[in-house]
């Protein structure tokens, strides 16, 4: 089907699809979880004025941010100050390129998709550091430095957690991983497929914790730490630039949730056994249309967990955070890899 559309049409579809795939989860997460779920958990209603049940609040906020004055501090390094938010957002768009939404509905089909994904997710660290340094503000500098330390420290557990999945799926291609999850069987029982959340449970938990830290969400939000650093590396940003940081934060949350559902929950598919398919080639064409919806549902589930933890926990101190990553998460994920490798060879 893709072959019948001219190249420019396919590229246009990909670009539009990419933008939707990044912004739609961001918007949904912000409205559903940030505005409404957090409010209900805190015994209040949240935004109710803009639109029915406050559904237009997001557009109102975007409009508000867009019409603000473009401020930048006097002592700031203007060029880097302006570039920093764009780099953080760019890393999100780079990430979505590798997430498949159906057997044929993908943006790119990298054989080393997982490798690419892990590498590209570190680009946001650069943006945060740039924001912290160029703001000419001590609070921002503190926030930026904390962020650098934290984000780099939590890259490792993320990488190590994913290796278990790669060992089991025998491939770094995300589409293959999804196909393996839905096509395989657990000890001969194939009705559920083989979602790696069951066999790689330890890896799943480590991955979700590392994702929480990569997003600088509480309990790992030292870089932002509202009660100490005002807004950390984002202190001096207002208006459109702050909006980009804001969108980037929630879009990255959505994209990481998509990746986690691809790696652990079986992605766009349902167990092939339900429809009698045997491998990726046999999957029906309608899956290309149903896939995104299934993916969205799984993403909502995972981002619900991320947001729920965000609203409940106080934050770690910087050194406790680092200690947790280096002394707890990394050893656990190393053991996980070892056990996975042994079991893979044994069975």
């Amino acid at each position: 089907m893709i072959a019948s559309i001219p190249y420019w049409g396919a590229s246009l579809l990909r670009v539009l699809g990419g933008i939707v795939a990044v912004l739609l989860p961001a918007g949904t997460i912000v409205y559903l979880f940030l505005f409404k779920m957090m409010s209900f958990m805190q015994s209040r209603l949240g935004p109710m004025e803009a639109g029915p049940y406050g559904s237009m609040q997001l557009f109102a906020e975007v409009g508000k941010f867009l019409q603000k004055e473009d401020l930048s501090p006097d002592g700031a390094d203007k060029r880097i100050f302006k570039m920093a938010p764009l780099i953080v957002l760019a890393s999100t768009f780079l990430l979505i390129a590798v997430v498949p939404f159906g057997p044929d509905a993908w943006f790119t089909n990298f054989e080393a998709g997982v490798f690419y994904m892990l590498a590209v997710s570190s680009i946001s660290v650069l943006g945060i550091l740039m924001a912290g340094w160029s703001s000419a503000n001590k609070y921002s500098l503190l926030g930026g430095l904390r962020a650098a330390g934290q984000l780099i420290a939590y890259e490792l557990p993320m990488v190590l957690a994913v290796i278990g999945v790669v060992i089991q799926a025998e491939s770094m291609n995300l589409n293959t991983i999804i196909a393996r999850q839905n096509g395989d069987s657990i000890f001969g029982f194939s009705w559920l497929g083989n979602p790696y959340v069951i066999t790689q449970f330890v890896g799943f938990v480590v991955f979700m914790i590392a994702v929480q830290a990569e997003l600088t969400q509480p309990p790992f939000d030292m870089p932002i730490a509202e009660s100490e650093l005002v807004a950390g590396y984002m202190t001096e940003y207002s208006g459109f630039r702050f909006l980009i940081f804001f969108i980037a934060e929630f879009a990255t949350a959505g994209v990481f949730a998509l990746i986690a559902s691809a790696l652990f929950l079986g992605g766009w598919g349902v167990p092939f056994q339900w429809f009698g398919w045997d491998n990726l080639g046999e999957v029906a064409n309608w899956m290309n249309f149903a896939g995104p919806f299934i993916m969205l549902t799984k993403m909502m589930l995972l981002s619900f967990i991320i947001m729920w933890v965000r609203f409940s926990y106080p934050r770690f101190r910087e050194d406790q955070l680092q200690r947790f990553a280096w002394k707890a998460l990394i050893p656990i994920s190393l053991v996980n890899i070892m056990v996975t490798a042994i079991l893979k060879v044994a069975f």
Binding site: Q42, K138, L142, D221, E226, S227, F311, P314, F316
Partner: protein
Amino acid sequence: MTMLGDRQQLAYIAAQAADARVNVELETEGMTLNIGPQHPATHGTLRIIARLDGEQVVWAEPSAGYMHRGYEKLTEVRTFPQVTTLINRIDWLGSFANEVPFILAAEKLMEVEAPPRAQYIRTILFELSRIANVSLFLGDLGVQLGAVTPVFLAFRDREYVLNLIESATGGRFHPNFDRIGGLKDDLPKGFIDETKAVMKKLRTFCDTMEDLLFGNEIFQTRTRGIGVIPKDVALSYGLSGANLRASGVDWDLRRDQSLPMAWNKAEWKVWTHPDGDSFARCWIRLQEVREATKIVDQLIDTMPAGPVMAKVPRIIKVPEGEAWVSTENPLGEMGYYVVSKGDTGPFRVKIRSASFNNVSITPWVLKGVFVPDIITVLASLYFILGDIDR
């Protein structure tokens, strides 16, 4: 020509010397961070100047006075009943409690005692303002540490207490209800049942806070062992209230002195903690809210009937003398040293507020802690700006 040459030479030598210095001692100078006066974490306009080495505090100094209103000077031109309106606003979260020690000091000088019913009602309102004040502390504690949910629950449940205070006195935050010789009015109809219902709700709130916040492992790691204040340091700085009891000193001014109030008519416990760290201070305040609900319940049940105002002249002239009364306010020990010259107004009032002493220990306790711990320690010491600055 020679002068220019000399100056140029001097500049060159100075530049060389500067280079040499940089090369020899690659010392990074610390960063001076200004926390406040406008900052999300300080309970008002407190400014803390901290010199940091990386993330560790080398030296920290609070700079108070952004809210100084000159109360001690203002009391000298007011009559005794007018002073009550003024001192309401010192600790504005538990405001009825501010009026009580001053009224008791004036009554001591006049040798007048409020009737028993007034004493009971005073104690009940005192404990209600303690609950209002400390429940906000519990919510605020969460926000300082990053947990955004407890503060909403705290404000929600605090509204019930404020409604109670408003139904009795007419004001949520500044009741101005205490009078020399008794109270302005009796309690409204339905107060007793309403109070019992609210106390039940507050006990549920305390249990929720214990689960949500105190039981959380991250909260424990953030507060245990942080900002330890040993007993003798606490005493020599004049720390009071929960801060002192958290360092192991068993001293509660409600139990340990005999004032014409009704605390000795109820059964309640004084909590102490041996650790002296931030967790101890926060935990003791949680228990104190529970004890306060118990006191209110017991006093509401056993309140005697009778008048609420003793016989005092219409224009109050307090005889000459000096009196000191201090009570166990929500923030600590608050006292008034009243000097009267037989006039309608005081000659000098020295207001001893708890937060002034509590914050003065900050330079001592903040040496060597990390930046996030500054916030934790300040949150656990718990001060109100109006109390520091008067």
